[in-house]
């Protein structure tokens, strides 16, 4: 069941979890795969990658948990691992995990991934903490601007994880110029994703 020739999301079989340190990549990885990656509440817990498998809709995905990084210019060994993993899986799907309470900080890395032309999905993790801190996140608007699926979720409770899995096959490439024109209101919103309820590009 592996492989999807001519599929819209690369070959769709490798999924990389990329994000800043301490945004919940490993927690999400455990949710997706059932593998018990070490999770702790401080940054820099994952220094090497972990592989796991997810079988969904008769399709097998290899999920790779990557060490957290702030940018794609390596400053330490763990970040080097993250960049190496990205370079080795150029045809894979990248899930950029953002902390919903610190979205702006994660944008830098998100845009670096966008610039490199990866097929991607954005996972807005820690929505529960955002609610607690009374931070409102307009995932639908973010999705319209970015032009890639944005899934609000909470890895620790599992909320939204299924939405994320369902949306993996909708991962797509976006470009910075398009985002810029959508932000300034020059371009019409992408027809494929406008009018959607915010859960994805369906």
């Amino acid at each position: 069941m592996e492989g999807n020739p001519g599929g819209d999301a690369g070959n769709g079989s490798t999924v990389l979890l990329i994000g800043n340190p301490n945004v919940g990549k490993s927690m999400l990885f455990n949710r997706l795969t059932g593998v018990n990656a070490v999770v702790s509440n401080y940054p820099g817990t994952t220094v090497d990658f972990t592989r796991g498998t997810l079988i969904m809709h008769k399709k097998t995905y290899e999920i790779i948990d990557v060490p957290g990084t702030y940018s794609l210019e390596a400053k330490d060994l763990a970040e080097e691992v993250a960049i190496k993993m990205l370079n080795e899986h150029r045809d894979g799907v990248v899930v950029v995990v953002l902390d919903a309470t610190l979205i702006e900080r994660g944008m830098y890395l998100l845009f670096e991934v966008i610039e490199r032309g990866f097929s991607l999905v954005v996972a807005l993790n820690m929505m529960d903490v955002a609610h607690d801190k009374q931070i409102a996140v307009d995932a639908r608007r973010l999705q319209q601007i970015l032009g890639v699926p944005v899934v609000p979720m909470t890895a620790i409770s599992g909320e939204g994880v299924k939405d994320l899995i369902d949306i993996l096959r909708k991962a797509c490439v976006t470009d910075v110029m398009g985002i810029k024109s959508r932000l300034s209101g020059d371009a019409a919103e992408t027809p494929a994703i406008s009018g959607c309820t915010g859960c994805g590009r369906c």
Binding site: S71, T101, E104, R105, Y108, L109
Partner: protein, 76 residues
């Protein structure tokens, strides 16, 4: 008026006016020109500083903090 970030005291606020060092790790951690920040921890004996930018706390060494210029003239 501009001061070095390393010269700010505990609780002081300001706006990032410039970062002198050419190769630095601050942009990707959210410290960029025009961002408001607040000093929330300053360790003694040339220890690191921690600033609050929005909801994010960013720690940096004092040497790096000396390269960050902060506009403190406007109250944030």
């Amino acid at each position: 008026m501009q001061r070095k970030l390393s010269e700010l005291g505990f609780g002081d606020t300001g706006v990032v006016a410039g970062i002198k060092k050419s190769r630095h790790d601050l942009n990707c951690m959210g410290v960029r020109v025009g961002k408001k920040l607040k000093m929330i921890t300053k360790q003694p004996i040339k220890g690191p500083v921690v600033v609050l930018i929005g909801e994010a706390e960013v720690a940096m060494g004092l040497e790096l903090a000396e390269e960050v210029m902060i506009d403190v003239s406007e109250p944030v």
